[in-house]
Symmetry: D5
Subunit: 92 residues, 10 copies
């Protein structure tokens, strides 16, 4: 089941760089694990913004919330979730 | 080069059904041609809305505008285009 | 799987009353069937507005879109879907 | 009398974890008491967001404001209240 | 129980004047009855706009929706309802 | 001359409680004086929010601004003022 | 007493030109009378838009509403009124 | 003196094609004259939308309004004007 | 050449009063100089808000930006500039 | 390939002036290099705001994101990117 997810990140300006780097590297590892697992299907950078559009493929809303709320950057994110369905014109 | 495109469709209520059906079938054929050509990479229905999120893969802005403005439903669409770049955490 | 759905209805002012009444009665029958089936779990009127908040319990996004897009009033509705997950403080 | 309530929580980033945990646990206890009392009828997590949609069943506006403003997390919440009425198509 | 209600009216430009006048006079009669009954407590014109802010005193959400949806101008109104509670600094 | 005024209050989280309490008590005293003087005609709490809707009866815009900008909580308020006129259907 | 008023005009596309011209000429005459009377103090065109910003000097909200709602173009206008007070730095 | 101007065009769906084509061709001729005159400095199509971003170089606000309000498509346009100044980092 | 300028001021709550007072007094002196020079034509307080609407009369966009960006309060202001043109109904 | 980019800058009020000046001078040098390289085609100051509108000419979305995210002021910017295409009426 597919969901489009927009994530906008804003880290506090006074966060020590080392702390920020640690969170980002944990975030990257976490995101790459989920991509390898097939849950995180697409991950695109929004040009010019510290934001991404992603597509997730999950079994349920609860699973999706679990995945998103476990993102290391979650406390610093504004997330918008749009449920997707099969389009009648799609050939996929 | 990837772009996320949101398309919201609103047909006039007083459009004769036959006219609407004709436009929709031409739209479907056009969309499926572009998918087969690889230009229209993803096409998802937004749950509950006469709208879609799509990902296009094109060579230039001009090409994308040409494809979108040739959509049979174009005159009845509100379209929003978001340019996408490669995300540093993407494994694609 | 639960979704919160807001539906705002606006019928064209020049729609003949008989046509409007027919759509509304089919809408009511359809809504009551879905409630009896357990799909449409809650249906509330927004005070002062020709709108409702509903909670649907479905197996997938596609099923939800099928149910919503089959609403007789669908062409005259603005619909917003919010996926819901289990709240850690919920005792339900 | 039913009200739909959306609560968006944002805790200051520099709040000591222990303080945050204390507020959250008092919040959980408070929410579960109200659910057991029948006042807090539904409590759903908004997927991907530190937010919930709830339905309250109270005797008056004043009672609802009392319940909401006593939430331990109230100072860190943005709350939106929508009064609900019985929908003519509801079979509840 | 008090509610603040904002009503914005927009009549179709092509509505025959006689029809419009009829609705307006029924609206006025209806509004004055409700004021005399004590339900419609305050009725103010928003300066420069075909809109009003009103305060209703009713027993329940359902009663308020009944009163509002029976307004002759209801089909041509955008209505926003804000539930009010007693303010701790009010001397009323 | 009547004005509808919405006031949304947000105190800094790191304001010492004693300071906050002092401002609030001066605010309450000030608000009650103005109510007794007839200037502050209605004061309602917006359910679920640290906000109020009020109606002021003043001689001029300047007087209203003087009253509002002297509120002890003024530096922590977002205020929206809507001038009101007599509604043709009002029986007041 | 001063008010800033923004007026956005949108005439129906299918309004016969003669009707539109008549309303506009009555609007111009009305506006110039009010300027000569000192009520309509400033009248500026918003560059690129069928809109104006004006400053009115009136005795009361009711007077202002009377003047604005009598504008021949009033039914085709979206109007926003902002009450103005004397600025402490103004030398006027 | 430079201004950024965004123009969004929406023609009525029921406008006869011949009428629309006539307006568009007059619009094109007018736009090309202004470009040749140096007034209309840049004209870009917004990808996916019946809209453009343009830069005008004019002597005054009044001149700009005259140019914009004379656009054949002006009655069908939503226009937003942003005055531009020289940027301290610009090498132009 | 006239411009309408809206300025919303928000000073940091933790700014030492002496610093704030110094900026405000320099702001007042600066504003009064510009009014005496004829550049700052009108300066009105928005009732209930730490904001003003002003009208500037300048020779160019660049001059206006220079004047505005030199405001002592500029770093604490949200400014919106609307270019104004002569209204065909104005008798000024 | 052209993109319109709006950049709104907001530096933390408590940033030491020396730090701010350093970032700004690096920003200026970076911006002027890109202008000399032809990538940053136009750079305009938005009158009255710490913001600019720019036009970039790049080979791809990825290149644009690389250029923008390398701006020294990037962490303090809100950026909005609009892809541009050739306008059929443009004579450029």
């Amino acid at each position: 089941m597919l969901f489009l997810v927009r994530m906008d990140v804003s880290l506090p300006h006074d966060m020590p760089p080392a702390v920020a780097d640690d969170i980002k590297s944990r975030e990257k590892a976490y995101a790459q694990d989920l991509q390898r697992s097939g849950k995180w299907v697409h991950l695109y950078r929004v040009v010019g913004e510290y934001a991404n559009y992603s597509v997730f493929d999950v079994e349920s809303n609860d699973e999706l919330h679990g995945l998103l709320s476990s993102l290391p950057l979650f406390p610093y994110m504004k997330i918008k979730v749009t449920p997707l369905a099969r389009h009648p014109s799609s050939i996929a």
